[in-house]
Amino acid sequence: MLLFLVLFPLLLGALAFMLPSERWRCWLLPLAGTLHLGGVTSIACHPLPVGDLWLGLDPLSLLVLLVTSILYFACSIYAVSYLQLRSDRGTRTIVACLLIFLSAMTLATAARHLGLLWMAVEATTIASAPLIYYNRNRLSIEATWKYLLICSVGIALALLGMLFLAYAALLGGVEVTLQFDHLLAESSFLSTAWLRAGFVFLLVGFGTKMGLAPLHSWKPDAYGEAPGMIGALLAGGLTSVSFLAILRALQIMNAAGLGDLARQQLLALGVLSLLIAAIFMVRQNDVKRMLAYSSVEHMGILAIGIGIGGIATFGALLHLVNNALTKGCMFLSVGNIHRAFASKKITDIHGAMRRLPISGTIFLAGFFAVTGSPPFGPFISEFTILRGIFAGGHFWLAGAFLLLLAIVFIGMGSTVLGMVQGTPDESTDTAFKDTFLLVAPPLLLLLLVLLLGLYLPPPLRHLLEEAVVMLEVK
């Protein structure tokens, strides 16, 4: 079943390459999105036993896969109308790459062998580079080149980190393997020196891919130049997958009794990310770059939550879900606004609520969600993390956390309110109008975020609790 979920998007991707009809090709995306979501849901209802040598889903990876699948489903519906709007571009490359991207993300979440995980994450980099290059202008070339080079080098560091883990096993005199369950079982024998070095490399490597400061330099460029839909998939899906890889490394450190060290490093990167994001978010003139910094901020919150531990771990995993759905909602609605004003500079965009009543409203509501205002989901998860920080006795950190979130709220708020209020400038008018297929996906994601703020469904709570147990020190 899992193998099927990895392989069928690949097959559809090959089909997309060969299909001659531009018109029908984009319908492969909703087909893949629906099949994938159906498959993942059925696995979630009837969990498969873990223990396969290569592929398997434990609660942690199931959580990430479920979120990614929901987000991909929404984006795939959106993609049909979006690609028809931009029919001059041709759809062959983007549809094929989107399908390969889905396959690679699924493989990365389901991999039980660290080498396989690495391969899949590197494949996501390669498959998403043409997606960032979609607009084919000077700026998107620059963004693509930075993304490709920085992420490839970052991921190479992670590979070295994995080999360090294997060397730790060699020196410890146990079976030399990168199979995750075996490595976890023999973790108390691993050589600590190599293990520590390996974790640093893994954190830096996958942290680059995830966009933790100071390794985030590619992120504003890539998210800024890519179409909104691609930004949604990168900011919601790919970052969660990379975070999963870091959590795998943390599991091994925990089992080897080095969990505290690993948590401190995560905490440091998390605070730095929050700080950098808050600084660059104020007076940001480009709405997509602003969202990219918001993504850096939320990656920081995830790292802080895991770094604190205890109840904050639950908050961080819940925040992973909230962040993916909210980012999807924001990027898709910003994509619509970008089309309607033919610009993503906030100096050109005024009165989005008048020109695009639905997209503008979703964007405004998404802003409240993303900054952690009640009654949306991120409020609950950020509040849980804050409770965890207080419970751990880190009062200074709690103060800084609140202050930085407030700065982000004000910085982002002034930008967003300026965009949605007022009257649109006639000179920027375009023929773009809200259509059902372009507003339904972000609306669906927004409603899910709202639901998570009001009510946490018991199956999801159960899944989160099981995943938290995996990250706790035994």
């Binding site: 080498g115 490839s152 080999l163 294997a166 060397y167 060699l170 050589s191 020196a193 130049e225």
Partner: protein, 212 residues
């Protein structure tokens, strides 16, 4: 066998220096192709003949020594740029830095906790030296193609380290890693082509419109 593998590893280090010191891109690519070929021999020399090492050696030879260099050569022919002029850091300073990094790697490796067989072997210092030389090349050059060569050398360093741990990397994974690299370089080649078409240069220094 130890002597043979040490000879190969020394040649690998010399090639690192050569790429750091040359301004001719074709020579740089050829050097990396030779380095890839030498690395392909290492599994055979280190672990003896077996199906696993034979397939790995063949696959590494095909990708590192033949396919990737061909791709890169084709790219520079298309964009018609043959020399690295005015690197960010000059050739002599980079060579000096390279020497520093390499000797640093050899000294550092002495202090690492290693299993008995690896003490005194050249594998780990060479792997580290190659890794950091690649990083150095990546950081100090402006031409996109030289940066790709730097990335390749960096990956070569990881490959050397990986040979010591062949049990950890099943053939399927090792093959997949190399395939990922090939496709990655292919995509990078396309982007370089687009850069030179849009900016009529391959200097990544021109890629500076996106910043705060």
């Amino acid at each position: 066998m130890i002597e043979l593998s040490n000879l190969i590893l020394l040649l690998v280090v010399l090639i690192n220096f050569y790429t750091l010191g040359t301004s001719r891109l074709v020579a740089c690519i050829r050097a990396v192709a030779i380095q890839g070929g030498l690395l392909a021999l290492l599994p055979l020399v280190a672990h003896g003949l077996s199906l696993h090492t034979l397939i790995l050696a063949f696959w590494a030879l095909l990708i590192k020594a033949i396919l990737i260099p061909t791709l890169l050569t084709r790219t520079i022919r298309e964009v018609r740029i043959h020399r690295e002029i005015e690197p960010l850091v000059g050739f002599v300073p980079t060579l000096a830095l390279g020497a520093l990094v390499t000797s640093g790697a050899f000294i550092f490796a002495n202090y690492l906790p290693l299993i008995a067989e690896h003490r005194g072997s050249l594998f780990i210092p060479t792997a580290l030296a190659t890794f950091f030389s690649g990083f150095l090349l990546l950081m100090t050059r402006r031409k996109a193609i030289t940066q790709v060569v730097g990335y390749l050398i960096l990956e070569n360093g990881i490959f050397i380290f990986g040979i010591l741990l062949s049990e950890a990397m099943p053939l399927m994974v090792e093959a997949g890693v190399l395939l990922d690299m090939l496709v990655g370089i292919f995509v990078m080649g396309i982007v370089i082509n687009q850069i030179s078409r849009e900016f009529s240069t391959m200097n990544t220094g021109r890629l500076s419109a996106l910043k705060e």
